[in-house]
């Protein structure tokens, strides 16, 4: 018994230690900043107002980046890589990263960054509400906030800029492309993302509107697969099993389009350019664009994850005392047609 007890104590001790050391690498910037670089960090904070010349004098701009978990999707992964590639010491930044899919954890990370006295707070919020007080704190500390990828429900004065995708416009681009195919009749299997997410609302909205307006547009099935390929496969399989006729698959992301196509393949339904069923996806994953290139799919709508260059531009502007022209910056986004896509497009836009 005694041995077990000591073992348990030892084990819990090592666990505790592991927890502490585990914290270390999560915020290497702050760890180093609070010990080794204590003084320069304070310096940059004290002359935070006259930061304009701090870049030229060689000191780094401190940014705290709060993002969603990069494992969430290929999109997030590409986004995270893009941010990491941009906010490096070579580019004049000292960046700290925090990841969470939970709003409370993100807000806690923001509070920590405010205490660390970063110059800029870059936030891709997990949820839209609850950010007011922490953003006010940032404002009183003179920390500038830039939102990317997702907007929040807070007063516009609390942030400098918001760089977002217009999901409704993505949906419209896709629906317009579909309309340009001039089919006699549109029987659409519509596979939705997680209900209530901004991507789902935007991409569903455009299709719903068009289907209501046009007599020959029918949505034969509308169901959520919650971004999951397997669930999408089951849904399309059950549509096929029911004997419902359809000629368009409108999936709100690439994974779900892939699942749908797997179900079509099982049932020997031809899909792609010039075939029986039109397949549409979103997000421009590399493999999805390759499917377009092979003409197995027809359309893929872009959801631009490359916000870092936009943010960089805005920060450079602010450092020189220039506020961005408008608070909301909408990124340029494309839609790719299987008939016109090239290998160069795949290489450039694939994520």
């Amino acid at each position: 018994m005694k041995i077990k007890k000591t073992l348990a104590i030892l084990f819990s001790l090592t666990l505790g230690l592991a927890a502490f050391t585990g914290c270390g690498p999560a915020n290497p910037g702050s760890g180093a900043g609070s010990e080794g670089q204590d003084k320069p960090a304070e310096n940059s904070a004290s002359d935070g107002n006259t930061n304009a010349d701090s870049t030229s004098s060689g000191s780094l701009i401190k940014v705290g980046i709060i993002n969603n978990d990069p494992n969430e999707s290929g999109y997030r992964n590409a986004n995270d890589k893009d941010m990491k590639a941009m906010f490096t010491e070579e580019n004049g930044y000292e960046a700290q990263f925090a990841y969470s899919l939970k709003n409370e954890e993100q807000i806690a990370a923001a509070q920590k960054y405010i205490q660390d006295e970063v110059d800029y707070l870059l936030i891709s919020a997990a949820g839209t509400s609850g950010w007011d007080s922490v953003l006010k704190d940032a404002q009183t500390q003179g920390i500038k906030v830039i939102l990317f990828d997702r907007t929040i429900d807070a007063d516009e004065s609390l942030y400098e800029a918001s760089i977002v995708s217009d999901m409704a416009k993505e949906g419209e681009t896709a629906v317009n492309w579909l309309a340009s195919q001039k089919l006699d009749e549109y029987n659409i299997v519509h596979i939705q993302g997680v209900v209530g997410s901004s991507a789902q609302i935007g991409r569903t909205g455009a299709l719903d509107k068009k289907a209501q307006a046009e007599a020959n547009w029918n949505i034969v099935t509308q169901q959520t697969a919650e971004w999951s390929a397997e669930t999408a496969q089951q849904i399309v399989q059950s549509v096929i099993d029911a004997g419902t006729k359809f000629n368009v698959i409108y999936a709100e992301n690439d994974d779900m389009a892939k699942g749908a196509v797997a179900a079509l393949d099982k049932a020997n339904i031809k899909h792609g350019v010039g075939q029986d069923v039109i397949v549409m996806g979103f997000d421009c994953n590399m493999w999805a664009l390759e499917e377009l290139l092979k003409k197995n799919w027809n359309y893929d709508g872009q959801c631009n994850p490359f916000q870092a260059s936009y943010i960089d531009e805005i920060i450079k502007g602010l450092e020189n005392g220039k506020a961005p022209a408008s608070k909301v910056v909408i990124m340029e986004e494309k839609g790719f047609d299987a008939e016109t896509i090239t290998q160069a497009d795949v290489d450039q836009y694939g994520i």
Partner: protein, 360 residues
């Protein structure tokens, strides 16, 4: 004479209703009846051809049997874990992501889109089994030897599992183009029945043999009912608890292998999402006490099929996406309440009282 046969009938009926397997089977039958009345074509099964030109069976029933396979396999392991430790493993979804990631890592090496497999599929499967069983063992050690609440112990892997899965493949999403790998989650060429169904059946047969020819079932129940008295009778309760988690680890490996084979790729955050809840639900639907003790694996298996049947039925009736979870919840609540041991006992008592009054 007539009286006698009547009471015999009643006895027979009572016996059936008291059987644990009654509720999940009844639920399955009700669902079937509902579909039969609403649309008899629900049960149509046709022989078609796949896009590769092989014959395949199509139909709702096949879809249900096919897609329930992973859940069936998991429910077997989950039943054992529940029985022995009186708690549930909530990390199976994350562990499936992990197992699937290991399979892809072994087959793809570090490439995201390999043109050939870097290892035989069987090797990938075996390594995936070992890794999944190690993680099962990790949970088992925490539960059996450190006496943590199962839900708390497995919370660790539940939180970290998907991140570890992503880390195994350097955050890449590999895709396997080799068609052979897809056979296990779809069809073997020339065989019209989806392979996951075969895997599930094979799994059930093996389980049945193990239950029949080893003392595992007896020991597990003994430990679940009273760990202390089973220890006094010469069983090592800690080891039994530990081994059930390792077995669940094996179930996870098989389920994860099927899952990644279905689409020859993986998405760490959504693969097998919430499947742990469905697996626990299958155990509960089977009328097993979630606090441990006596169990019936066959009831859990039927519970798993009920869940999948329900899902496909809801798709079939085109329940609006936003309302889908609510519908599912309502049906599930009714079933779980009916199959709860307390309610079952009450029902049986009521029936008995009624019969007694009738006889008087």
């Amino acid at each position: 004479m007539a009286q006698n046969s009547l009471s015999k009938d009643q006895n027979f009926f009572l016996k059936i209703i008291k059987k644990q397997i009654f509720i999940p089977i009844a639920a399955l039958l009700v669902l079937m009846l509902f579909n039969l009345i609403a649309d008899p074509s629900f049960f149509r099964v046709e022989l078609g051809t796949s896009s590769l030109g092989y014959p395949v069976l199509k139909g709702n029933l096949i879809t249900i049997l096919d897609n329930a396979s992973e859940l069936v396999i998991l429910s077997i392991g989950m039943t054992l874990v529940t029985s022995a430790s009186g708690g549930q493993d909530i990390s199976v979804g994350a562990a499936i992501a992990l197992a699937g990631s290991v399979v892809l890592r072994v087959l793809c090496g570090t490439e995201t889109r390999p043109d050939h497999l870097h290892a035989p599929i069987i090797v990938a499967f075996l390594i995936c089994c070992i890794v999944a069983m190690l993680f099962g063992a990790f949970n088992g050690v925490l539960v059996a030897y450190f006496k943590l609440q199962p839900m708390v112990a497995t919370l660790i892997l539940f939180t970290a599992g998907r991140s570890i899965a992503a880390w195994i493949n350097n955050n890449q999403l590999p895709i396997i183009s080799e068609p052979k790998f897809g056979y296990f989650g779809n069809f073997f060429p020339g065989i019209a029945i989806p392979s996951p169904i075969f895997i599930a059946i094979l799994f059930m047969i093996i389980t049945a043999l193990i239950m029949r020819f080893t003392k595992l079932s007896l020991f597990t129940q003994a430990v679940g009912i009273n760990a202390e008295s089973s220890r006094l009778n010469g069983i090592n309760p800690q080891f039994i608890k530990f081994i059930t988690y390792v077995i669940l680890g094996f179930c996870v490996a098989v389920a994860g292998f099927i899952k990644v084979s279905r689409l020859s790729t993986i998405n760490y955050s959504v693969i097998a999402k919430d499947i742990e809840m469905d697996a626990i639900l299958a155990v509960a639907l089977g009328g097993n006490a979630l606090s441990g003790g006596k169990f019936s694996i066959s009831s859990s298996i039927i519970g798993a099929y009920v869940i999948q049947f329900l899902t496909i039925t809801l798709y079939k009736f085109e329940v609006p996406a936003a309302a889908l979870p609510a519908y599912k919840a309502i049906v599930v609540i009714i079933l779980v309440v009916l199959s709860a041991p307390v309610v079952r006992k009450k029902l049986a008592d009521m029936k008995k009282n009624f019969a007694a009054k009738e006889a008087n």
